[in-house]
Amino acid sequence: MAQENVLQANGHSAGAHLDYLDSSKGLWSWMSTVDHKRIGLMYLWSVVLFMIVGGLLALLIRMELLTPGPTIMDAETYNRAFTLHGAVMVFLVIIPGIPAALGNFALPLLLGAKDVAFPRLNLTSYWIYVFGALMALSTLVLGGVDTGWTFYTPYSSTTGGGVSMMVLAAFVLGFSSIFTGVNFIATIHKMRAPGMGWFELPLFAWGMYATALIQILATPVLGITLLLLVMERVLSVGIFDPNLGGDPVLFQHFFWFYSHPAVYIMILPAMAIISEVIPVFSKKTIFGYKAIAFSSVAIALLGFLVWAHHMFTAGMSLFAGAIFSFITFFIAVPSAIKVFNWIATMWRGSISMKAPMIHAVNFLLIFTIGGLTGLFLAALSTDVHLHDTYFVVAHFHYVMAGSNLIALLAGLHYWWPKMFGRMYNEKLAAIAAALIFIGFNATFLPQFLMGSRGMPRRYYNYLEQFQTMHVLSTIGSWILAVGLFLCLGVLLASLRGKKNASANPWGGKTLEWQAASPPITHNFEDTPVMIHGPYDYRPQPVPVAVEREQGVSH
């Protein structure tokens, strides 16, 4: 400490401070840190750990489905395995993945801020997450949970095992999510660097803002619903179980009122990362800044009005079905706009296919499939056929797993030098990206065909006619696993080397690249001032003040 004070007294020369990784030592300094970067890293390692847990479960599930009938486990174990896979991946990996891990690390840096608005709340959010995660995993010793991650009543209110614990875990995890959302909204409103107006915000911040809106508005509804479910299970208060006078479809309405917007908690941050990576590696200003920014907000708001498209076969009125289908189609438009904007950004750029960009391009292709296959499920007549088949499984994996995970990897490779001050092996990272892309498509493409031919989801046993496609899918899962482990290995291997990354290895124009790699605890030696736009790649960037005066908007 004393040494640091002396160094500080020496003035603000670059390198005068130890970076945030080395500024203090010991486990406690990490566990009690309020530094957004350290909290981001703790989230990151937790997410990686749970991704391995969820991924191994996925491999077991795919292994079981290699043959019809029993392969390696019995039906009850299988049901518990896919439930835990879903719950872990949704609540512990995808929802916190980009916002809490990468968002925490990058958002304040992108804004030119010292930290998030409420650093202690940030730490609280992390420990609530850890507590919720332990609760969720404790169901393994409480007899498991076999409801599916959707907890549909009255199955969930009558089956045995640790359903109440799992549901309470999701309740607790919700608070972590809300705290992060509140924090990000306050940070984006109040902590922007001098000179940074709303339309000079990096698009990552717009994406985080839209995500945070959903987190704070939708998560409480899930919390209430889950508490009602626990009340029904423990106190036999009849809410959803018809035997107690409840309505089972009501649960689905409540559940999807949160969980459909939650899908956008998963995809908006992914889009946010892609909006950062593509301009940098195309060395060209983003095309249609406002269109991308507003389409994020549009998706977030429309996302609240479409929940019942999960229930077209559940017994809704014709009129309700038509309304929900109609609104759902409007989400397709902002999604399409974004994809075309990203491609237009690449057009006439100077494209460098480094690992983050490879992942970003893979994202564009996978999201194109994931997005367009959504049309089948938004349309009423086709959804009736496809609902609860493997087609749906394939579709949501393309969006939630493929798009989200690959965008997470794009962001991770992009900010890795900033996080750890080290470059990874570019060639191996590119090979890993290719394996992930091939493995992902090999796993999930056959599932579309299986589903359209009628294979229902959550089936332990299946008819022989589906076996070929199940085998292809299982082989795909092995390729995907090899790719992901290679990717992790390449990144971890880089940590053994010296800190060799420059402050701005990719030539980015957003503020985080003005900080050292890795940054000091307070991010910047001096408060950065926003001079030119976040994507101004002109040889002589035009100051934002001048652009505003000239009325030149993005």
Binding site: A75, N79, Y152, P242, D247, P248, S282, K283, K284, T285, F287, G288, Y289, K290, F312, T313, G315, L318, G321, A322, S325, F326, F329, A332, A336, I337, F340, I343, A344, M346, W347, R348, S350, I351, V361, L365, T368, L372, L375, F376, A378, A379, L380, S381, T382, D383, V384, H385, H387, D388, S452, R453, G454, P456, R457, R458, N461, R538, V552, H554
Partner: protein, 313 residues
């Protein structure tokens, strides 16, 4: 296009299917087209404008309103078209015609029970006539199930404490697979049923003799099924208790006295007569209140009833 449709969806077997199949193929082609289109643009851009040196200068293009309008409005038009197309198919599958034959479907862990208009019940095998509208009135006994017939492109959740409906006109004779598509526990993936779409001749045989299950059932078991399902149990006990009618226990081979005092033997002919013309000869001390079962029981079911009563000694 037929091979493409059969490859994607399997061949259709109900009147609704064509509408949905057309839309499915349309969106499939749209998806393939945009995937290739986007893929080609990305591939072209990354080759054509590959970075060759670090100080390359790129044009500063912030937006292009005309282009952006085009790629907003075209997707909008396409999705609206898809919406209406999907809605049309959904509506046509919504309201059943008035003359549809009604079948009650009960889903429970982990089997499907079907009840025909004549009161016959069957497990997991449903017989329907070809080219006749059929309406299923469905409910569940325990948790939510879902009745899915891929060949008909139809699916409907089956809920406890509520009725849901589904109707179809099957066009292809043959056997069509039914799946449960709402997760319902350990036996979910074995909760399968089959719909037998019968030609008029086959359906005649089915109406006369029942389905294969029934045809193969030993007479005594069939009789017990009739006793339980057709309301006999309401008045006739099998344990000797007196009900609205005489108990079946030990009645076989007994000599009974009729209301007018005449004696008669309870044999095959008496039982048959009592089922078809119940009030011809009534046992003394009982009211002539039994309804006739003419036309409600198949010939083999009457034989089954006789065998069943024989067995209750």
């Amino acid at each position: 296009m037929t091979w493409f449709r059969d490859f994607l969806l399997g061949s259709p077997a109900a009147t609704h299917a064509a509408e949905m199949d057309g839309l499915f193929i349309f969106i499939t082609l749209l998806t393939v087209f945009f995937f290739l289109f986007n893929g080609a643009l990305i591939f072209y851009a990354s080759k054509r404008w590959k970075r060759r040196s670090d100080d390359e200068v790129t044009p500063h293009i912030t937006h292009d309103t005309r282009l952006e309008l085009i790629w907003s409005l075209i997707p909008l038009a396409v999705v609206l078209l898809i919406f209406f197309w999907g809605f049309k198919g959904y509506v046509s599958a919504w309201v059943a015609p008035n003359d549809a034959m009604e079948i009650v479907v009960t889903g429970k862990k982990w089997l499907w029970e079907f009840e025909y208009p004549d009161g016959t019940r069957a497990l997991n095998d449903l017989h329907v006539p070809v080219n006749k509208p059929v309406k299923l009135i469905m409910h569940a006994e325990d948790v939510i199930h879902s009745f899915f017939v891929p060949a008909f492109r139809l699916k409907r959740d089956v809920l406890p404490g509520r009725y849901t409906e589904m109707w179809f006109t099957a066009t292809e004779p043959g056997v069509h697979q039914v799946y449960c598509t709402e997760y319902c526990g350990k036996g979910h993936s074995d909760m399968l049923a089959r719909i037998y779409v019968d030609t008029p001749e086959e359906y005649e045989v089915f109406l006369r003799e029942g389905d294969e299950q029934v045809r193969k059932m030993p007479l005594k078991d069939l009789g017990q099924l009739v006793y339980e399902n057709k309301g006999c149990a309401t008045c006739h006990s099998i344990d000797g208790t007196r009900g609205q009618g005489p108990t079946f226990k030990g009645i076989w081979g007994k000599t009974e006295r009729a209301a007018d005092g005449k004696e008669f033997l309870v044999d095959e002919n008496y039982i048959r007569e009592s089922i078809l013309y119940p009030n011809a000869v009534v046992v003394q001390g009982y009211e002539p209140i039994m309804p006739t079962f003419q036309g409600l029981l198949r010939e083999r079911e009457i034989l089954g009833m006789i065998e069943y009563i024989k067995s209750l000694q």
